[in-house]
Symmetry: C2
Subunit: 302 residues, 2 copies
């Protein structure tokens, strides 16, 4: 069990993690009316911070949450302060960082906030030590199942990373009940979308396939990196529509996310993927991504 | 502008409304990992409290949020204490009450909470004076538009009233931008579902039509009451699938919700409903529902 955070950064200042920080009237608590980003910081350096902050602002804009023009600077300073306070800014520090922005506290009632009724967004930064994914799990690979929750690719909120995440919580509980490690959402027309906190990839011959942006996915920063990595590494990157059968019959499969990086998938519903062990491309992608996070290099280990 | 609440009830005790009540690690704030109910209390008496508490527990169960067996009693006492503190328990007191339950604060990271990692759910009760819907709005009727957000009737979360409400906030902003009062969701196969905080009804001849439970709706307590009221009042209650054209060509249309009661709809997208004025059945439904809330009578005003 990793140690629990001792601090949290709330609206410009560090606070004790076990204090009370927020109003019960906060729209984030009341309505999931917020957005977030999760990223990895090694040695005190946040990986792909600019991309995460750009997506945070795009998500906030999409929901009409006003972020001041200086929010990026403020949040960056907040991350630095928190990593230091948590002892995670050391050269070998390895942290998962979450930035959460809600519309703020509103003492009135209703979905619509009148202009001027909220002073400003609530901004929270949290950090946890990254506990290595257990070696046994990397060795056996993840088992994933199909969630009963489906994605509508036409949703105007599809590209927004909102804190309205009950669907994701539910799907993760579904997976847990099925004895699996994660769940994959399908679109309403039956294509593979994404896992609860990760993008999905398949290797088939020398093709690296992943659901295209019209499959109800969030364009993960690690996904973007992997599409570039494939081209440099001898795989043809393909964004396409994948049926569940395509995933089940792939040579290799893996999930990608900012904090966990690349995680092999060896079982999907009742199907064994490939020979049931993490594949060679998957291992290489994981190693290269970890190297990139560690020292910022994009070089492959060819 | 109604006066702002001075108190809020959090986890068993009254607190100042402008205090800090919650941890930033609360799953409600982090993930919209919570459920809620909104109800109306007149003269200190909560309308249909049992139904609301039953639905709250069903929603919590659906998300796997553990509520103690005594939660209903505790929440009922919380409502009473808060209404008194806010001066809303007087004979002419008229309050909107919201009960919000989240999974609670979790200092760890991730969608799945290990067993025992959370002491208990966070339970919040809020109350506001019901400010009468402006007479002009009742006179002209609401204008509603179709949201770009669609509902998947097969969602396992469809019957759960979760706090993951970004879709609803978004739709209400859509309506506001279109100069309308509310938005209506359609299902992914094109049927009318519900408005952002209300069920939808149409009057056609002597039929009272409303989307059936397989249209991605929440079964509102006011909807249930209206279906019974119709039978007593000379209307045939019909739960069915309605196309947008059915709503546009109805003789009358209205929305129903716990706090606002029955609200006439006179415009839907580009269509004028009926003669563009609130209909007679709508007015009668509104009056009868208000009488029921006021003195608990179910009698119609025939």
């Amino acid at each position: 069990m990793p140690s629990e955070p001792r601090h949290v950064w709330v609206d410009g200042a560090l606070a004790d993690a076990d204090a009370r920080h927020l109003s019960a009237f906060d729209r984030g608590f009341q309505l999931g009316d917020g957005v977030f980003e999760t990223l990895r910081a090694r040695g005190g350096r946040s990986t792909e911070l600019d991309q995460h902050l750009a997506r945070l602002r795009a998500s906030a804009d999409g929901l009409g949450i006003a972020l001041p023009p200086t929010a990026e600077d403020t949040i960056t300073r907040g991350i630095d302060a928190l990593l230091k306070a948590e002892g995670l800014a050391t050269p070998d520090g390895d942290a998962a960082v979450r930035i959460t922005v809600s519309r703020g506290p509103f003492l009135g009632r209703g979905l619509l906030v009148p202009p001027g009724a909220i002073d400003g967004a609530t901004v929270v930064v949290q950090a946890w030590p990254v506990t290595s994914v257990p070696a046994e799990l990397i060795e056996r690979g993840l088992h994933v199942v199909t969630s009963a929750v489906r994605r509508d690719p036409s949703s105007p909120l599809g590209a927004l990373k909102t804190t309205s995440r009950a669907d994701h919580v539910y799907a993760r509980i579904e997976a847990h009940k099925a004895g699996a490690d994660d769940a994959v959402f399908l679109t309403i027309d039956g294509y593979v979308s994404e896992a609860t906190t990760a993008n999905v990839f398949c290797v088939r011959g020398t093709r690296l396939e992943t659901p295209s942006l019209d499959c109800g996915i969030l364009a993960g920063t690690t996904r973007d990196w992997l599409l570039g990595w494939a081209g440099r590494s001898g795989l043809e990157p393909i964004e396409t529509r994948l049926l569940p059968g395509d995933l089940a019959t792939a040579d290799e499969a893996f999930l990608s996310s900012s904090v966990a990086g690349v995680l092999p998938v060896t079982r999907y519903d009742a199907h064994t993927i490939g020979d049931g062990k993490p594949g060679q491309w998957t291992k290489r992608a994981r190693a290269d991504r970890e190297a990139f996070i560690r020292d910022g290099s994009g070089a492959t280990t060819t």
